[in-house]
């Protein structure tokens, strides 16, 4: 046989062959073949073992829908080898079988099936209770498919791409080609997705050439629009006409104004005993194997069909050189028939009672179908064959349409779309149209409809096919009392008897039946079993299929590697201050603060602390939030969101302030400076910078205040020059009067430092004489270097966040978010001095008034350990009589005080200087004592110097 799509037959032309390894054997394959096709050509018939009973399973659908060819390829588990292209040197091995596919010890479960009835996990392993750990261990060991190599490096090459189209057609079969061509001809920009490497859909399985396929696509082409065709698999349809698709390792997110789903249909398995035996395949799978991969499925075939397609299939099999032993027509007498052919026996109104063979099919038993559509239990003949082709009526592959909101109604033996969804159209077998010419006509119509919806002028719309191409006969079934296993769900080994039993136990709705029996819940997600499960449910509950319905379709329609889905999260933004690379070069150890990178230290935080306390230090505080308020209502806004007063702040002065939520919970703090009568500049904490800006915007709009807010966080860099020598360093670089009188504590000045226009705040978070210098980000490097150089003779050292935390702790300054939590209020946190109840209104006022009237339960206090060298971890519990009553929020060793110090929430009764309390430390409780704050420079002489 000449394979049209596989480029060469490796067995006839070994020089052109690829090779790969399967269970230690070298297998030859032609380029373009799938792994499974090459294995089949090499004589492999058992591809996997079933999930529950470990029965041998062979190729079945050859389209990536069923679970029968799942293998491990190059360490990847659950690869559908029937659609996995062969690569040179691939390592392929089986999964879910031990010791091998030919002999699997766990096949014993097939004999122990009486122990594993439907819903066995609700019924078994309960008693005796003490055996559960053994059961659990065993079940965990046996369950699951494939083994992931947890030591292998994760697959991280995935990327994401966003595509946009006016019309997106999903499916490159005849309907999809016609739709895409028509929309393109009308002038639309069209994106055509198809999961196969070649366009044509099921026409490729029929042996149609690409020329014939191109004719459908180009019919009436006039080149007005654009058409881009890509090989990609759509796995989900989401809100806003967003299509999720993948192309190898690439995640595609496609937005289209109009979507036309032409995903075709799928043949379904028939029910009879041993219907899972290797050698039993869907008819289209046999054709695909032959026409696309150049591999004959067998020598002697029987065709089992319920529609006229069976006869066509027999013809095609004969054309491929496969002997047709018989065509068996399941349709009961008087409900349609397969055309007669003289070349092979045609058994009308017959079915198959059983497939015979242990590891592979060698014959089928045939019996009559009665007028009720039941296959008789007594066989009338046995037909030897090595392949059984199931030429069943296709079911629409309409999962994407369901996800898009379309609903279907069962009519004339088929599910037909009934609810229109704007921007979503369906054509071809997915819409219940099975005749080829009707599919093409419907495709053209939908393509033109999509173009018309976009405003393109279109010719008169062609008529839609009036009658769907499906037959009306219900699916024939074996007798309910038939012996053996007739599998409904190949993934989960759910049999017809299991369905019967589940319904008998009360699970008679299709959704509860699914959950109880696990039908539809395996790797195929109902593609192979959904229609049969619904039909059985209807039959066993004496309802019509329309009222039984189908299960819900959710993305993904096809399996997607997690790495591909995670590609969306590949971006990890980093916020760098303008001085980032200076810090890097200076050997900074980094601390992640949200998206920011901050220098934690430059080697030894203790040395940095001493430098600030005794000489001068410089820290990059560019990550602080910086906001300007300009307008006549600026004061009003500040008064309402901050706890303290702002109206009396003079121009050129700054003030520390904190803000609360409406519930009186501490939200953020910072310093605000008055630049002009209606102009303020305020800072917020690094973590809350954006939240504070949004908070101010919200309340500005709510109260309709006339103030403009400018977020200057990125625009302005900031650095804190602190230490007894900081005045001298600054004085060398600016003409500003930096004397204690000219630039006193809490003053604000604007002027040039090292030639850079700056805004300077004389504040002292670290408790020393200090200047917070703000300048445009673009000039930060220049200014920083000037300060470093200017400070060299004074022993200036850069210091990081760790030193800053020690310094502020020595000074007793709290950090909101570290020393406070979602329940902390300013009264208990030691900020009661700031709260101005004499203001008529501010956020949290009412709550704080009530809290003030009530007895406080806890206070934030400073403490020191009795053992001055012990430093409790932050978060340690404060305990009283063994019960937790508070926690340590900050603790460090103070190089200045030469002892450990900290802040902790303790019961109010303990919040007295000198009072002892206990901190739980590993396995014991250690004593600490409440200390007076601040620990360092209690009179503020250093700060105000």
């Amino acid at each position: 046989m000449n394979p049209p799509h596989a480029s060469a037959d490796p067995h006839s032309d070994p020089g052109a062959a690829l090779t790969f390894s399967f269970e230690g054997q070298t297998i030859a394959a032609a380029p373009g073949q799938s792994v499974a096709a090459a294995l089949y050509a090499a004589g492999v018939r058992i591809f996997t073992r079933s999930f529950k009973y470990h029965r041998p399973r062979g190729l079945f659908c050859v389209s990536g829908d069923c679970p029968n060819c799942l293998m491990q390829v190059d360490g990847r588990t659950n690869v559908r080898t029937c659609i996995e292209p062969v690569q040179q040197g691939q390592q392929v091995c089986h999964q879910n079988a031990w010791p091998g596919l030919g002999f699997d010890l766990l096949h014993v479960f097939d004999r122990l099936d009486f122990m594993l009835p439907v819903g066995f996990y609700y019924k078994r392993f309960h008693k005796p209770r003490w055996l559960w750990p053994i059961f659990e261990h065993t079940v965990r060991h046996i369950a699951g498919l494939g083994k992931i190599d947890v030591h292998a490096l994760p697959h991280v090459d995935a990327e994401v791409e966003h595509l946009h189209a006016e019309v997106c057609v999903i499916g490159g079969g005849p309907a999809g080609l016609a739709a895409a061509g028509a929309a393109r001809n009308a002038g639309a920009q069209v994106l055509l997705l198809d999961r196969q490497t070649q366009l044509g859909g099921h026409l490729l399985d029929q042996g149609q050439t690409s020329d014939e396929i191109a004719k459908i696509l180009s019919a009436g082409a006039n080149g007005q629009g654009n058409l881009l065709s890509i090989h990609a698999t759509a796995f989900g349809l989401y809100e806003g006409n967003l299509i999720g698709a993948f192309q190898g390792d690439k995640l595609l997110k496609i937005r289209a104004k109009q979507i036309i789903v032409c995903t075709g249909g799928r043949q379904q398995p028939f029910l009879f005993r041993n219907n899972d035996l290797p050698g039993i395949m869907l008819g289209n799978g046999v054709l695909r194997l032959g026409h696309q991969y150049g591999v004959k499925a067998g020598k002697r075939a029987v065709v089992l069909t319920d529609n006229e397609g069976g006869s066509r299939l027999a013809e095609q099999l004969a054309g491929m050189g496969i002997e047709v032993a018989a065509v068996i027509d399941l349709q009961p007498a008087g409900q349609g028939s397969v055309p007669t052919a003289n070349r092979w026996p045609l058994l009308r109104s017959h079915g198959i009672t059983a497939a015979l063979g242990r590891r592979h099919l060698h014959a089928v038993q045939v019996a009559r179908v009665d007028e009720k559509g039941v296959v008789d239990r007594r066989p009338v003949q046995e037909i030897p064959c090595d392949v059984l082709c199931l030429a069943s009526r296709p079911a629409p592959a309409n999962e994407l349409l369901y996800q898009g909101g379309m609903r279907f109604q069962f009519e004339n033996g088929c599910w037909l779309p009934r609810r229109a969804v704007p921007g979503l159209l369906a054509a071809g077998a997915a819409a219940g149209t099975f005749d080829l010419q009707a599919q093409i006509r419907e495709g053209r119509r939908r393509g033109l409809e999509a173009a018309a919806a976009l405003g393109y002028a279109v010719p008169e719309l062609p008529e839609l096919p009036s009658v769907p191409g499906a037959a009306s006969a219900p699916l024939p079934f074996p007798s309910r009392s038939a012996a053996g296993k007739s599998f409904v769900c190949l993934c989960e080994d759910v049999t017809m008897k299991d369905i019967d039993q589940a319904i008998a136990e009360g699970f008679d709705g299709i959704e509860t039946l699914k959950r109880y029996s696990t039908v539809n819940m395996g790797p195929c997600q109902g593609k192979m079993c959904g229609a049969t499960a619904s039909a059985l449910c209807a039959r066993f509950t004496n309802r019509d299929l329309g009222s039984v319905g189908t299960t819900t379709s959710r993305p993904p329609v096809v399996p997607v590697e997690l790495a591909v889905l995670a590609a969306e999260q590949q971006h990890h933004p980093i916020r760098r201050t303008p001085l980032h690379h200076w810090h890097q070069a200076a050997g900074a150890q980094w601390l992640d603060a949200g998206l920011w990178k901050r220098p934690e230290s430059y080697g030894d935080p203790e040395v940095e602390v001493r430098a600030v306390r005794t000489r001068v230090g410089l820290i990059d505080v560019s990550t602080l939030g910086k906001i300007e308020l300009i307008g006549p209502d600026a004061v009003q806004l500040l008064e309402r969101v901050y706890l303290n007063k702002w109206g009396d702040l003079k121009v050129g002065r700054s003030r520390y302030g904190a803000m609360c939520t409406e519930e009186g919970i501490l939200f953020d703090d910072g310093v605000a400076a008055r630049l002009g009568p209606e102009h303020f500049y305020l800072t917020a904490t690094t973590g809350n910078a954006e939240a504070v800006f949004q908070w101010l915007e919200l309340w500005k709009a709510t109260w309709r205040l006339n103030v403009t807010l400018l977020n200057q966080t990125s625009a302005m860099a900031a650095m804190n020059l602190a230490g007894p020598k900081s005045r001298e360093v600054l004085g060398r670089l600016t003409k500003l009067d930096v004397s204690p009188q000219g630039f006193p504590y809490q003053a604000m000045r604007e002027g040039e430092v090292a030639g850079v226009k700056c805004r300077l705040l004389r504040i002292g978070f670290v408790g020393e004489l200090g200047y917070e210098i703000h300048c445009p980000s673009s000039h930060a490097w220049h200014l920083w270097e000037a300060l470093i150089q200017g400070g060299a003779e004074f022993g200036l050292k850069p210091f990081g966040v760790e030193a800053q935390r020690v310094l502020r702790l020595e000074k007793g300054h709290l950090i909101i978010g570290v020393d406070s939590d979602a329940l902390s209020n300013p009264l208990d946190a030691g900020l009661e001095w700031m709260v101005r109840f004499d203001k008529p209104m501010f956020h949290g006022r009412d709550f704080l008034l009530r809290l003030k009237a009530m007895k406080s339960h806890a206070r934030l206090v400073g403490f020191q350990m009795l053992d001055s060298k012990r430093i409790p971890s932050e978060g340690c519990q404060v305990v009283e009589q063994g019960r937790p009553v508070g926690r340590v929020t900050s603790s460090r060793y103070s190089p200045t005080l030469e002892r450990s110090i900290g802040l902790a929430w303790v019961p109010t009764t303990r919040a007295v200087v000198g009072e002892r309390f206990w901190i739980r430390w590993n396995d014991g409780d250690v004593p600490a004592v409440v200390a007076r704050l601040p620990f360092y420079d209690p009179d503020g002489k250093q700060l105000r110097s």
Partner: protein, 235 residues
């Protein structure tokens, strides 16, 4: 209303783009212009015609950026542009007399002015136009980094980074859009220029990250472009 005029300084203070370190590492030769150190050229810079098959990426962070906001902004814009800007949002209009200067209407009461170099004349005009108007002008030059993508391969690069349709269909000439790019907020500007260009404006502190992401997304197709080549192309 007065605005924030905390802008670039003189007296030998050098302004650096957020990608300055990257340019240095790449061996760029620098030039000084308007107090900024800019990468003039790279040692392995692609030939001038390369943008026809790929795309060049140029750091335009030194461009002067002025944000005008307030209810009086339309009157100011009318004065600047010499005609009525209408009510269309996301419009990008050339700034008369400012070379490659652009005026981007971000919202009804928010305009961003972008001038590639020097803006003394513009500042003077603005000072006159805003006097007495209910607007706040703010120099945001150091708040945002701006990069220019120029050439044939802009779309393939950008669609790896944003869900916005940034093709000529979704973002036609003379329009702009705020969106997420590489996971961060960005303003994309399609100037009404003959040369296929897309300007990307992001927060200053994210500048180096976005620059790297643009190059990574366009691996093999996007190359860094010095300002000398950029000026030749844009001329």
């Amino acid at each position: 209303m007065a605005g924030n005029e905390m802008r670039s300084s003189g007296n030998g203070a050098v302004a650096l783009s957020p990608c300055h370190h990257w340019h240095m590492q790449r061996g760029a030769q620098f030039t000084t212009s308007d107090g900024w150190q800019l990468p003039a050229r790279y040692p392995d810079e692609q030939p001038e015609s390369a943008h026809r098959s790929g795309a060049g990426l140029v750091d335009l962070s030194s461009a002067v950026k002025i944000l005008i906001q307030g209810v009086g902004v339309t009157a100011v814009a009318r004065g600047l542009l010499g005609n009525d800007p209408g009510h269309l949002l996301r419009r990008v209009i050339p700034l008369p007399g400012e070379g490659q200067g652009l005026a981007c209407r971000l919202s009804m009461e928010r305009w961003l002015l972008l001038v590639m170099s020097g803006a003394t004349a513009l500042r003077e005009r603005l000072a006159n136009l805003t006097a007495g108007q209910a607007v706040v002008t703010s120099d945001v030059t150091s708040a945002t980094a701006v990069f220019g993508l120029v050439g044939a391969q802009i779309d393939p690069v950008v669609r790896r980074l944003t869900g916005l349709d940034a093709t000529f269909v979704g973002l036609p000439l003379g329009t702009c859009a705020e969106t997420t790019l590489a996971g961060v907020q960005a303003l994309l500007i399609r100037p009404p220029w003959e040369l296929a260009t897309l300007l990307v404006s992001v927060s200053w502190d994210l500048g180096e990250y976005v620059w790297e992401q643009l190059l990574e997304a366009g691996r093999g197709e996007v190359y860094p472009l010095g300002v000398e080549r950029w000026r030749q192309l844009i001329r």
